[in-house]
């Protein structure tokens, strides 16, 4: 689960990493209070999970009250889903660094990534100037050792008091990374201020979903999602992505669903939504179909090839969903796997035409989406 900047910064502060003085506001009315607690110039930072907020004009530096009120209103009214703004004191920046920690799946280690060019997109830099990226690998059993912190600090060209302060930041960031079961923790940029302090300018923190049980719950709120449908799907634990095409996918298995997505594109079709209800969700056909029906799609395509997710259970679920939801659009089914003969019988009894070949099913769905009679 990706957290917002303000949440990442809360975590930073909890682990002793300094952030700019700031106040989180939920609407334009709260701006007065926030301004009372900060002094100009201030930065208005829209709390959105997407990257490139700066380029999209979602972060604004303002130098007086009138400007602040105007720009704050603009942000809340923008085309993006801005529900919270972090109002932060501007910082006297001397230089900017990049610092993050993630896992390296090949080495099976924690990987610290640092760079003297703060504010850049690290992925871009990795392609364009890989030699500027500093990497330090940490044995997960041993944890981060002091010499490794120094290695990073010296590679960044830090010395003396600044090296000491940076060492504390990195040690604390590592603690936060491990304690939070993070997939990624990132400070970009990490400010070095004119008076020699080190402050987290921006923050990313992504928590491993599989570690929910041992992490404080951040609660799934609408804020985290681009659309209502994605939010609703997440509450059900159903992987769901919103697109704006014609065909609603209702497939099982991440790899198979992705493959069906590809095949639709190959065949000239368009996808209305990616929806995967395999694994532990394979009995959630009703909820899955409800989600699909909220789209303006022209057809629902069901493709499964399950093992534990039995074909007969899948088929029953689809039939049950149809009888409950009475969908207003045709449904193409291609349900295979354990007990697939029973599945075929169930589908036929419900008046559906079971298919057995994925490509055939995809072609059928694309044809329907293009106007062919089901």
């Amino acid at each position: 689960m990706k957290l917002f900047e303000y949440q990442a910064k809360e975590t930073f502060r909890k682990f002793g990493i300094e952030t700019p003085a700031g106040v989180l506001i939920k609407n334009a009315e709260e701006l007065s209070d926030a301004m009372a607690k900060t002094s100009f110039p201030i930065v208005l930072k829209s709390q959105l999970l997407m990257g490139g907020r700066g380029k999209k004009g979602l972060i604004r530096l303002v130098s007086d009250e009138a400007q602040a009120r105007k720009e704050c209103g603009e942000l809340f009214d923008s085309e993006y889903n801005v529900r919270k703004i972090l109002v932060e004191q501007a910082v006297d920046i001397k230089t900017e660094l990049y610092l993050s920690i993630t896992v390296d799946p090949v080495e099976a280690k924690h990987m610290i990534i640092a760079c003297g060019d703060g504010g850049v997109e690290i992925e871009t830099l990795a392609v364009e100037s890989p030699e500027r990226i500093i990497r330090e690998y940490v044995d997960p059993d041993r944890g981060l050792m002091p010499f490794q912190i120094k290695n990073v600090g010296f590679s960044l060209g830090l010395e003396g008091d600044l090296l000491k302060k940076f060492s504390a930041v990195l040690a604390n960031l590592y603690k936060a990374f491990v304690s939070s079961d993070a997939e990624l923790i990132e400070i970009n940029p990490l400010f070095i201020t004119g008076d020699g302090n080190i402050i987290a300018g921006d923050g990313k923190l992504s928590i491993d979903d599989n570690s929910d049980f041992r992490q404080p719950s951040y609660g799934k709120t609408r804020d985290y999602y681009d659309s209502d449908a994605e939010y609703e799907a997440s509450l059900e634990g159903i992987p769901y992505l919103q697109f704006d095409g014609d065909i609603s996918l209702m497939c099982a298995g991440a790899g198979l669903t992705t493959t069906v997505y590809d095949l639709i594109n190959y065949e000239g079709g368009t996808v209305a939504n990616y929806l995967e209800f395999g694994g532990p969700n394979y009995k959630k056909a009703v909820r899955a179909m409800e989600l699909c029906l909220k789209n303006d799609s022209k057809v629902i395509l069901v493709v499964t090839f399950g093992t534990i997710a039995r074909a007969d259970v899948m088929a029953e679920g689809i039939v049950d969903a149809i009888s409950r939801l009475k969908p207003d659009r045709p449904i193409v089914t291609c349900i295979r796997g354990t007990n697939e003969e029973d599945a075929s019988r169930i589908l036929k009894e419900a008046g559906l035409v079971p298919l057995y070949d994925t490509e055939e099913a995809v072609r059928k769905a694309v044809a329907i989406a293009k106007g062919e009679k089901p």
Binding site: G51, R214, L241, A254, G255, L256, T258, T307, T358
Partner: protein, 297 residues
Amino acid sequence: MSIFIDETTKVLIQGITGKEGSFWTNHMIGCGTNVVAGVTPGKEGQQVEGRDVYHSVRRAVDKVEVEASMLFVPPRFTKDAVFEALDGGIKKIVTVADGIPLHDAVQIRKAAMSEGAMVIGGNTSGVISPGRAMMGFFPYWIERVYKQGRIGVMTRSGSLTNEVTAMVVKAGFGVSSLIGIGGDPVPGTRFAEMLPLYEADDQTDAVVIIGELGGTMEEECAEMKGLGIFTKPLVAFLGGRTAPEGKRMGHAGAIVSGGKGSVKDKIKAIESVGGKVAERPRFVGDYLKELLGDRVR
């Protein structure tokens, strides 16, 4: 023997008395697997499918020779169970748990590497050599997918594996050993680490990789082939060719970022060393025919 496991491999089942554990123990035996014992703390003295249950791996290996362990253990206890198996000297471990915490997965792979063991999974259906043995849960009774033959299959997926393998069988081939390394971001074993085993296996004529966008596992395979460590024909099917950048589509490990891990890169890497990449599952069978010609299937 085949890759990883065959009908002689002595297999222990950790979590044998659980619902899933006992159900699939029955099927593993049905598939030919040599299940020698099981472990469930507190249940020593019981039997499952005629196999003795022990309190712990250590107590089991004290009594019975064990070569591989199959874990039916909830994700949050998987790290402990894997470490217990490693502690028992077991070098082949399969864990099907879906939902292993990321940081646990890192420690699991780290431990396996430092102890010269191989952990397959998590988030996988496991390993099967059709007609001989399996560790995991495969509908081995579906002959149009799990037919014995001479094609090795490695996969990150579940349902997609059935889809692709059915095409391999439809083209007239069968499967020697199928290894599901799992869909997690940090699997215990990576594709490339299996290739030397397939290379050495005289029952495998070619290998099919069922991969997807994200990560670098397919690129690592290409590297192995480029180095001549793997010389047999290689065919890949990769899901997510048309996936939009930055969206998490597919498994947790499947995210394209900064141009790395894109299917385009993977195709380039594989083709540059003479491998084939199939655009559709069906084409996997076509490429195998092309590469193997009229060789015994």
